[in-house]
Amino acid sequence: MSGVSVSEARASYETVIGLEVHVELKTRSKIFCGCSTSFGAPPNTNVCPVCLGHPGTLPVLNEGAVELALRAALALNCRINQDCKFDRKNYFYPDLPKGYQISQYDQPIGEDGYVEIEVGGERKRIGIVRVHLEEDAGKSMHAPDGSHTLVDYNRTGVPLIEIVSKPDIRSPEEARLYLEAIKSIMEYCDVSDCRMEEGSLRCDANISLRPFGQREFGQKTELKNMNSFRNVQRALEYEAERQTAVLSAGGVVEQETRRFDEATQTTVSMRSKEEAHDYRYFPEPDLVRLHISDEWLERVRGSLPELPLAKRDRYVAELGLPPYDAGVLTADRGVAEYFEAVVACGADPKTASNWVMGDVLASLKATGERIQACPVSPANLAGLMKQVEAGRISIKQARDVFKIMWDTGKDAETVIREQGMEQISDEGMLAAIVDEVIANNPKSVEDYRSGKTKALAALVGQTMKATKGKANPAVVNKLILERIGSPDSGASGGGPADA
């Protein structure tokens, strides 16, 4: 728990949260017809008689969607129901063309899994009740004056999985961490883009409070309309406070569905239990049962990538990275792959980690690019690191070189040559310049000899200035000391660290 603004009353109640996460699967075509799933197409262009629910049309299951759902369910450690079925969930809404959604009711593709999160340095398992496959609905756009509603059916029939957690989450912060873990796992498995802003990941939450020590759950409310991870956390925080206030005042929490209002950062009642839908689920007669063969299951299991938490443990154990670094690098599969490619080019893991977490991620953030489009290739970054290691350029120069590599896509070698940035380490070349600096700065030499060791820096600075910054500061240091003696030996040294 964050510990911020936790009132005394709040501290006497335990928060119990369960999340329902909808994830759009990355298939090229829809789940029951051949229409494209591309995001951002003009309204009602990715449609056909089937996904518009025309009379007489029938669904045909896209096996690609099953494959992705299978991958997701396995990554979430679920037991797979190799013989399962689809059901109809019946309700009326204009964005639901058939008047029912094809979903899975009592036989989901995956059941009884878990996700691990790290809370305050401790690993915690959040149980997954089920993962089921279903079709998405369209999008309604209501005129601000309420005069009409327009519906875009492009999204209708895009495959979704719904991931239902057990009520194992104990704080709004844990809820956010759980969501981040889900997103990361889905991305790793190449199951979904998980872009909450494009609606390819959506989340509803159930939250209740109970006095610490009580076994039974309290009355829960359901929260909807949270369009970012931060808003999920905020909505849950607000709702926990609200329920605390109700319970502390001796009141009863109503079972209802509440909507998060972003403007006021509060939750607002949408509908009560009495208005809850009866979805009249029944088996979808237009589809045959879904059978997943042993071979199919094993093939998918075998194709699962190393998942984020396992990767993170490996970075710590095998590459010797600090846990913090490992966490940052593995949060995004693309970043981890980039990092591993840099290391594969022979770079030192910790130095590579510094570069990736530092300049690479910062530049991506500044330009809004994804790492897959990073203009500095892993090989080029490793090449840059080699130049520093070989002493050709200082680390400070290297950061400038990186910027140019980013803008031009050139490799480090080329940039250093074109910019004439190569460091001068040749003692013969530097000796004459050092002699001249000493001759021209008798005062500094005097100061140094009389114990003002700071004067050494001034002499080094003058030499750097004379070489337009290209001199290797370590070599310069050494040459000056050779000439003016040393009041306390061993003052020189250091690597290429800031000159």
Binding site: P49, L52, G53, H54, P55, G56, T57, L58, P59, V60, L61, R88, N90, F92, P94, P97, K98, G99, Y100, T149, V151, D278, R280, Y281, F282, P285, D286, L287, V288
Partner: protein
Amino acid sequence: MSVHTVKEIVASLRRGEAKPSEWAARILECIRRADGRVGAFLHVDEEGALARAKSLDGQPVEGTLFGVPYALKDNICTAGLRTTAASRILENYVPPYSATVADKLASAGAVLVGKTNMDEFAMGSSTENSAFQPTRNPYDLERVPGGSSGGSAAAVAAGMVPFALGSDTGGSIRQPAAFCGVVGLKPTYGRVSRYGLIAFASSLDQIGPFTRTVEDAALVLEAISGFDPHDSTSVDEPVERFADGLDTGVRGLRVGVVTDIQEEGLHPGVKQAVEQAIAVLQGAGAEVVEVSLPHSRYAVATYYLIAPAEASSNLARYDGVRYGRRADADTLLEMYERTRSEGFGMEVKRRIIIGTYALSSGYYDAYYRRAQQMRTLIRQDFDRAFERCDVIALPTAPTPAFKLGEQLDDPLQMYLNDMYTIPANLAGIPGISVPCGLVEGLPVGVQILGRAFDEQTVLRAAHAYEQLRGFEMPVPALEGSA
């Protein structure tokens, strides 16, 4: 009016005695003369039919249905041609695509002349539930043609088309075939693609032909059968040349008679005609064996839970949002309510309400789930019976055609029309109705059921009976008061 079979029309085209466009013109003339009194058609596409037939003129006669005019029940979608399911809610609906069966018939060379009347959304047994018009029985214009595919049955009976397609959910092909004195075949569930058939009850619906002869039924079945990638419930079974081998007879064929058949409500004339039909088969060398279908007495009750449950969901799409009728309204809820109140007829509403109720939380286990369990028992009855016999013979409908209006106020009585046909839908097996005589001047039919995907044996038995029954169905004179 002279009537023609599919086989005769194709033969005349082969011999070069007539061109497809001449047949189309003749058929259209027939419809013009007769349909004013029968009301079998909701729309006749004269222009389209003639253009299509002309395009076939001069082409080599290839395929079993080349140049043959036909009609489709109006719940089978036809691109660019209004398809209403005889409902106000789809009064002006023009589908953007064609049903697989329509495409298959087109590629077999058949010529679509129009769309036939039916009970709204195929819900009914008399075609009186059409939102647009009644259809009259060509043998007695004061009587119903049966339903729900009454328009297709009447059109074939009156000689307006040599064949037509209908759909059979609980008997909607076989019962009107019996009432109108024609052959009606419901194939095995999954044999014919349902893609483009406006769904009533998806797990029961199946498209099939009305013809004048069993051989024609075999020809049409062959043309419309087969796995369809657009219909996951269609089955990838080899499509046989059903018309071949029809003449191999019934010697040694085991014909099952149902010992525990429900006889309450069975007209004695019908009973006798069916017994005679069985005797004809026996006389031709078939062996009659007794079989038991103990759960068939629950078939009607089972059907009237499963079919409305599926229908309540299938008909939810008619909401006024994307196509079809939309009522003016100020709010969304009002739009839904008014669109559906105005758009659906009484029987459709009744079934939506029954189905919604049967699926509701708290009632699902008591109704829908139990109905599914009963459906399994009924299927198992047939499995057991077909261990002892090859086909089962029984009446198609308990009575001959009744008068228009006679059963309209008594839905339960109306539902019992299907007591002998419903079990085959619940079990998914094929069934055919073949005329087996006249009772009080009205046609009645014998129903022959077979194992799943064994249409071949069903057709062979039906054909043998048809050859040996010793009478020709008289051509209706189309006389009557209407």
